[in-house]
Amino acid sequence: MNAVEVSELTVRFDSFTAVDRITFAVGVGEIFGFLGANGAGKTTTIRVLTGLLSPTEGRVRVAGRSFADGARTIKSRVGYMSQRFTLYDDLTVSENLAFTSGLRKIPPAVSAERIQRLLRFVGFNHSPSALVRDLPGGLKQDVSLVAALLHDPDIVFLDEPTAGVSPAARSKFWALIRGLAREGKTIFVTTHHMDEAEECGRIALMRAGRIIALDSPAELKAQSFPDPLLEIEWTAGAPAGWRESLLERGAASVVPYGLHHHVMVNNRAAWDRFVGEHTGRLTVRTIAPSLEDVFIRLVEGADR
């Protein structure tokens, strides 16, 4: 059984179609990335999957529950963590977690045991009576994760979970997420951070209410860039108008990247001539496309 099954889901607000007949499934224990530009329909989809919004059309099953069973049965099986708001700054760590337990109607004995176990799991070594406002970003995030896990959900939704925390705290956070997935929790992540997207087993890319790509990061790169991506550097100054001339002759795109440029070639013979004309002034190396390159290429392709 899949953790999430979505079939022909459509959500309309009056005459505006926010989500347009999307179909996908997420397996149990999968780390699934959900990407798209602002306004692509990601948040609307997540509101449906967390039981906050009913579909206009189509079928949705989350942890085996559907809307026919009542939105509350979906809500009881999902956890949600956002960078922006999960904890109250003016409450202590213990108070925040007790409050969440109350909301989720977890019996006190169960909740006490879980809080201890989860704080151990995230490696929380601070005082639980510290005010949340006094914790560094990385620790706040660990406590948010504990709060999202208290009712033992099958699926955890992470909304840009590591925006603004240090790289070290981030790498630790992702080790925790991988641990959860190994235990069989399903992880559903939305992010604009491409290095977070790299952590996902599969990624769905949304554009104008539709899913325009869905695959593993490696496969998406291979599909979007059948030709190599090249990085060039002018070692002795760039000739005037070279970008325009290259675009006319045989490059699909020329994008500045620091002191270098990234070039995507679509006419190999013309490119080889260009390199030949500038021997000794141009260094060229093949680079692996980043997920950001893939994202941009796929979205631009869908726009055409």
Partner: protein, 243 residues
């Protein structure tokens, strides 16, 4: 156009006993794009605010050079644009109304303003949205509007505090394309960011943590010297070593 160089040396700053800057130093030349890279709390914002003259360091020097000569802050300040992290734009005003409001504030001649506004709208690709109110712009467009307002008085230096936070990859790349155009116009640019992948987009990076800059130089050179494949790895390794 005025050429402006900004430099700080050994600046220290404390806030109620907490150390924000502990001997930071850097130098930004005209026509170069520098990155200030570090996690939250590294001191990036304090350093930017020091360069703009909004904060005075407890110790250390801040130097401004205009066309090669040292000038006091008061002379340099009109040529420095600063885009803070939290922008206060007016949700009810349209893009065009923002530009006219800032024209008034900066007292720019109308003809110069018209040409300038046209170019900025073209560069930011916001021409088609100029009648849309700021409250109805996407995250990326909102940031670009903030940048336009900062660029209206034709600055020679541009300081940006995490301008691409929460902005989707396409808008982010457009924003960077815009920065390259400004750099090639001769503007000195310093951009603070917590996105490690943005480090490689800069000409020079300054890696910051604990109020000081622990490494600076061309991104590729730093990675090669440290034997790291990317900047996140470098910061993680450093944290593990307890530095």
């Amino acid at each position: 156009m005025t050429a402006l160089t900004l430099a700080v040396a050994d600046v220290h700053k404390q806030f109620r006993g907490a150390t924000a800057l502990a001997g930071a130093a850097l130098r930004i030349e005209p026509g170069t794009l520098h990155g200030l890279i570090g996690p939250d709390g590294a001191g990036k914002t304090t350093l930017l605010r020091t360069l703009v003259g909004l904060l005075h360091p407890d110790r250390g020097t801040v130097v401004y050079q205009q066309d090669g000569r040292d000038v006091p802050l008061l002379v340099a300040r009109p040529f420095i644009a600063y885009m803070p992290q939290q922008q206060s734009l007016y949700p009810d005003l349209s893009i065009q109304e923002h530009l006219e409001f800032f024209r008034d504030l900066y007292q720019i001649e109308y003809e110069a303003f018209a040409a300038r506004a046209r170019r900025l709208l073209r560069l930011t690709r916001l021409e088609d949205f100029k009648d849309r109110s700021a409250g109805h712009l996407s995250g990326g467009m909102y940031k670009k509007l903030g940048l336009m307002c900062a660029l209206l008085p034709t600055p020679a230096a541009l300081l940006l505090d995490e301008p691409t936070n929460g902005v989707d990859p396409i808008s982010r790349r457009e924003f960077w394309d815009l920065l390259y155009t400004l750099r090639d116009d001769g503007i000195a640019i310093l951009i603070a960011t917590a996105y490690m992948d943005e480090a490689e987009r800069c000409d020079t990076v300054h890696l910051m943590e604990g109020g000081r800059i622990w490494s600076a130089g061309a991104p590729r050179r730093i990675l090669a010297e440290e034997g790291a494949s990317h900047f996140a790895e470098l910061f993680v390794r450093r944290a593990a070593a307890g530095a």
